[in-house]
């Protein structure tokens, strides 16, 4: 009896803390996305304007992150690059989550031979060392941000298919699905109204946590020259461009690196907060 009250209290506090975290990181993430959306008007300088007389300047009040070897303002380039990095990543994660969910739900719902075939296929994809395969795909498709997104999408959907399938199998057998059948709802309606809302949580959490990973992989492909192409501003390719200057002009690498670090961090922490918020044990009754 005496332990019950503090436990309930702690639960409440954790739930409150969880909500605060959700709002804080949600707001930061929204800020990043808005920044990316309005990046053009946020740049203090033209991110593509070269000015060789002002090349390789260290950080100063005028050029917050300094300038690169062509004299381009690094802060402006980091801001401009946020569009490719953040929107590219969100597009990629949306793509793989949607594709994986469709495949997984389909496999889990219909079962049988089709299920077996789809799952063997996704096993094959999962067995490959992901980034190596993405490199090969990007190599075949050629460079460019779009192809990098396609390459990463091609190797990343199976994880979502697995989750969606196992969730579908679990939910399909529950009593409320039988009840939904008995209400005379057609299968499409049962999937839409009862299955998808009940499997969305884990998929959403995975997607949120994946934004950070995918952002790094996308930047990684660009870094290797298989993503966004110079002079386009993109964080990975910016780091790649300046990697030779790492020791002499460190700020040219720090600027995009810091941008990646901060964004990955914000989205990962948001993913954690979303996971905790969706955890049924943390939800108030």
């Amino acid at each position: 009896m005496t332990t019950a009250a503090p436990a309930a209290c702690r639960q409440e506090n954790r739930a409150d803390g969880g909500r605060a975290r959700l709002w804080a990181f949600g707001a930061l993430a929204v800020l990043l996305v808005l920044g990316a959306a309005f990046s053009e008007s946020l740049c203090p300088f033209d991110p593509y304007a070269q000015n060789l007389s002002a090349a390789l300047q260290p950080p100063s009040p005028e050029h917050f992150f300094g300038t690169d070897r062509y004299g381009r303002d690094l802060l402006s380039r980091v801001i401009a690059g946020s569009r490719a990095s953040i929107f590219g990543t969100i597009l990629l994660v949306t793509l793989i989550a949607a594709l994986g969910t469709v495949v997984g739900v389909f496999a889990g719902w219909t079962g049988g031979r089709l299920d077996a075939v789809l799952m063997r296929l996704s096993d094959m994809f999962l067995a490959f060392p992901g980034l190596v395969f993405a490199l090969a795909v990007a190599g075949v498709l050629g460079g460019g941000l779009h192809n990098a997104i396609l390459a990463l999408a091609a190797i990343s959907w199976p994880k979502y298919a697995r989750i969606a399938r196992s969730q579908t199998l679990a939910v399909r057998e529950s009593a409320f699905m039988k009840a939904a059948r008995l209400s005379g709802s057609p299968e499409g309606k049962i999937i839409r109204k009862h299955l998808l809302p009940n499997i969305a949580g884990p998929i959403l959490v995975t997607a949120m946590l994946d934004i950070g990973t995918m952002m790094m992989e996308l930047a990684g492909l660009s870094f290797l020259g298989l993503g966004a192409k110079p002079p386009a501003a993109e964080w990975g390719s910016m780091m790649s461009e300046s990697r030779g200057l790492m020791t002499t002009v460190p700020w040219s690498v720090y600027a995009p690196g810091l941008a990646i670090f901060v964004s990955v961090m914000v989205f990962n922490l948001l993913g954690d907060a979303v996971r905790d918020a969706l955890d049924p044990k943390m939800r108030e009754r």
């Binding site: 009593a175 008995l182 209400s183 005379g184 109204k193 009754r285």
Partner: protein, 253 residues
């Protein structure tokens, strides 16, 4: 006299899974339920009662045998035909809370069959409130989620859901087993009243022989997938012919 509302002939279900021995869950079951009648099925856990219920409601594919509902064969019914079947037969499950979608309100659950029958949203709301009232729940329960109601309240809502489209046959698969004894009595009382008022036939599955005694017109006793005994509750309880039935009775009374 009318024909039976439900007629089950030589119904068999064998579960076969790779790497495991076959399980004959239901073995050659034959029985009938007449209109308005209440037939009890008793038997220990694992004797195949739920499997029978699931085959009758087309949630499970029979291995062999035939099922007729109101004279129409439904053994292999699928698609739209199966959906139409649910205007005649409904089921109340053993797990009251879990039988409602955790992400939807009880009202949504109760009204889903009405919505599928083409009723307008406003009419559904009104009818749901009426059905809940009939089952002894205030209208505000329509807006509650399953986790915001007790097992007994959820089971009342589940009964409201089951009678919404006025089925001719109600299958209750251990509808009271998960409830406290006092609540159990209330729910049985509710079912008995509804059965009278709606002239509904009932297949009442239960592992508790005492509950069957007052509620059912006839009982079947199942053991390892077979029907081993049948008769009125009094006959079965007073003069059981099978050793198994005696054991079942002794364990309760």
């Amino acid at each position: 006299m009318d024909g039976p509302i439900l007629s089950v002939r030589n119904l068999t279900k064998i579960f076969s899974r790779r790497g495991q021995p076959d399980v004959t869950a239901v073995n050659d079951a034959t029985f009938e339920v007449r209109p308005g009648e209440c037939l009890g099925i008793i038997g220990e856990s694992g004797s195949g009662k739920s499997t029978v219920a699931h085959m009758i409601t087309r949630l499970l594919e029979p291995t062999a045998g035939q099922i007729f509902l109101d004279g129409e064969e439904i053994t292999r019914l699928r698609g739209a035909g199966r959906r139409r079947l649910y205007q005649k037969v409904q089921m109340v499950f053993q797990t009251p809370v879990e039988s409602f979608d955790p992400r939807r309100t009880l009202g949504d659950g109760v009204g889903e069959s009405l919505e599928n029958a083409g009723m307008s949203a406003a009419a559904v709301r009104e009818e749901v409130a009426r059905l809940l009232a009939v089952c002894g729940l205030p209208a505000e329960f329509a807006d509650r989620y399953p986790h915001q109601a007790s097992g007994g309240e959820c089971q009342r809502a589940a009964i409201a859901r089951a009678i919404a489209i006025r089925p001719a046959l109600l299958v209750c698969d251990e509808a009271t087993s998960a409830l406290d004894v006092t609540i159990q009595r209330d729910v049985i009382g509710l079912l008995a009243r509804l059965r009278r008022e709606l002239a509904m036939a009932c297949l009442f599955i239960c592992h508790d022989i005492a509950l069957v005694q007052d509620f059912c017109d006839r009982v079947l006793v199942m053991h390892r997938g077979r029907i081993v005994e049948r008769g009125t509750p009094d006959e079965v309880i007073r003069s059981p012919r099978e050793e198994y039935t005696k054991m079942l009775i002794d364990s309760v009374l």
